[in-house]
């Protein structure tokens, strides 16, 4: 009797894929790739792009074969070595140090009133600018930045500082073109964050509170790790809720029947979860193969740099019916927008509380007749991070 041996196929190469095309709209590219295989070598991004739901999910749950601690990580260069680029047990120690700061009890007791205050402030700013204002610039970005500033404990910074830090360090993380100006801006922000942390730490030691810096400062986490985790949190804690607010508002304004149902029945959570499935704010993140291995019948070589394209997985037709459509009534299935396994988004409940409970219902309540500006289209962009970058709106 012969024993069956598996002969994993080699991964196909997609040399026709370009970064500008991915940035403009990755979804037609993913559709074309999907017909051939769930994993492709994409020379333009120097990675194997993993686009299938099952493949992405398997990788998320298997740090033995697929490490988060990537070689030559741009994120490590831009922000330092945070827990996002570590595996357990090292990751777990730092993750636990975050304690209850980002969990539902603290959100209820401390942060919800911060979200409500920020909402009032930036709704006011939106009204001051008046109909035609860009919802991203005048509301979503400062709302997310101010919430993050308070939660993190930056009493010595402004929401504008947080926006600048976040964007420049994220640009560094995505600096595949090795642009020296991008690195210079990221380094400047990284230094500013270090200075701000150093200034606040002794203050919060004398006067502890519920902020992340106060809790981490007392946790015994080494300063270098604290700084790196803070920079990662500035990156992930700002752009993602900003993009979730803007993309969900855009989705609802473009689908009036669904908007009616959301407003009538308070289905803001459905609107939000479907929005981040449809356009995942973090659409791709890296992993690295620790050994020669097989996944979904394909051979992955040791050291392979993988791009886990959850933005593609979230539109996998094997999992989601009519996956390209925004549909709040679709059968509920777990999406991968918050990641999965040990790196599941630490800010998931903050995002839900600030966006679902405060920002979205507030905007549609306070701005009657909120609608897209027919003369100026919304602008979407990105494939590593993706969202609506400009959303001109009108109201009555």
């Amino acid at each position: 009797m012969t024993v069956d041996t598996t002969h994993p196929r080699s991964i196909p190469s997609a040399d026709w894929v370009t970064i500008p095309d991915l940035y403009a709209d990755p979804y037609p590219i993913y559709r074309r790739l999907r017909g051939e295989a769930p994993i492709h070598w994409v020379p333009a991004v120097n990675r194997y792009l993993v686009i299938g739901y099952e493949a992405c999910h398997t990788i998320e749950l298997d740090q033995e074969r697929f490490t988060a601690d990537e070689t030559n990580s741009l994120m490590k260069r831009s922000m330092g070595h945070s827990m996002l680029r570590k595996d357990d047990p090292e990751h777990d120690i730092e993750r636990k140090a975050y304690g209850g700061v980002l969990r539902p009890k603290a959100i209820k007791q401390e942060w919800t009133r911060v979200f409500e205050q920020s909402f009032a402030t930036y709704l006011g700013r939106l009204r001051e600018v008046g109909p035609g204002a860009d919802l991203v610039k005048e509301f979503a970005a400062p709302f997310a930045a101010e919430n993050l500033r308070v939660i993190m404990g930056f009493e010595n910074a402004t929401q504008e500082d947080l926006q600048r830090w976040s964007q420049t360090m994220i640009d560094g993380t995505g600096n595949y073109g090795d642009d020296p100006d991008v690195w210079a801006a990221a380094e400047r922000s990284s230094h500013e964050v270090d200075v701000a942390i150093d200034e606040m730490l002794p203050i919060l030691r004398d006067r502890p509170n519920g902020s992340l810096l106060s809790v981490l400062g007392a946790s015994g986490m080494p300063l270098e790790a604290l700084r790196a985790n803070f920079k990662m949190t500035i990156g992930g804690g700002l752009n993602e809720p900003r993009d979730a607010v803007a993309t969900t508002a855009w989705a609802l304004l473009s689908h009036p029947t669904q908007l009616t149902s959301v407003v009538a029945d308070g289905r803001w959570s459905d609107a939000f979860e479907e929005s981040i499935r449809w356009v995942a704010p973090i659409s791709m993140y890296p992993r690295e193969a620790t050994r020669d291995t097989e996944l979904c019948g394909l051979h992955i070589p040791q050291g392979a740099r993988l791009g886990i394209a959850v933005g593609a997985a979230n539109r996998d037709p094997d999992v989601f019916v009519d996956a390209e459509s925004y549909d709040i009534d679709r059968p509920r299935k777990p999406h991968l927008a918050f990641g999965g396994g040990n790196h599941f988004c630490a800010g998931a409940w903050v995002a839900r509380a600030s966006v679902v409970n405060v920002a979205l219902p507030g905007l549609f309540r306070e701005l009657p007749g909120l609608r897209l500006d027919p003369d100026r289209s919304a602008v979407c962009g990105g494939w590593v991070f993706r969202g609506v970058t400009s959303l001109p709106v009108l109201w009555d």
Partner: protein
């Protein structure tokens, strides 16, 4: 070997054996038991491994921690004040050689 008995809404049952130290969530994921998601990998952070533990096993479970308590307030299917637990916090071992749970109809 310890075992977990999963009862589903359609009257089907999965009986799965697993070594000491494995959580009900991990048992489900490792054996493709339907209805348990376990998004966060066991950090009591996501409330997608919710189970209803059957009478007769409840007094063998550890106390509900503060983290688990706040997640049990965030489950997709309604919480049962006595029977609801997170599967990631129910771990097989000498004190829990067997446990029988009902899998909720929704986790997300």
């Amino acid at each position: 070997m310890p075992k977990v008995i999963f009862h589903h809404d359609n009257d089907e049952t999965d009986v799965v054996e697993s070594p000491d130290g494995t959580s009900v969530m991990k048992v489900a994921l490792q054996n493709d038991v339907a209805g348990i998601v376990g998004e966060c990998g066991g950090q009591a952070m996501c409330a997608t491994c919710h189970v209803y533990v059957r009478d007769g096993y409840l007094d063998r479970l550890p106390e509900i921690s503060e983290d688990e308590e706040e997640m049990l307030e965030c489950t997709a299917a309604p919480r049962d004040e006595t029977r609801s637990r997170l599967g990631c916090q129910v771990v097989l071992g000498p004190d829990l050689e067997e446990v029988e749970v009902d899998v909720p109809t929704s986790q997300v």
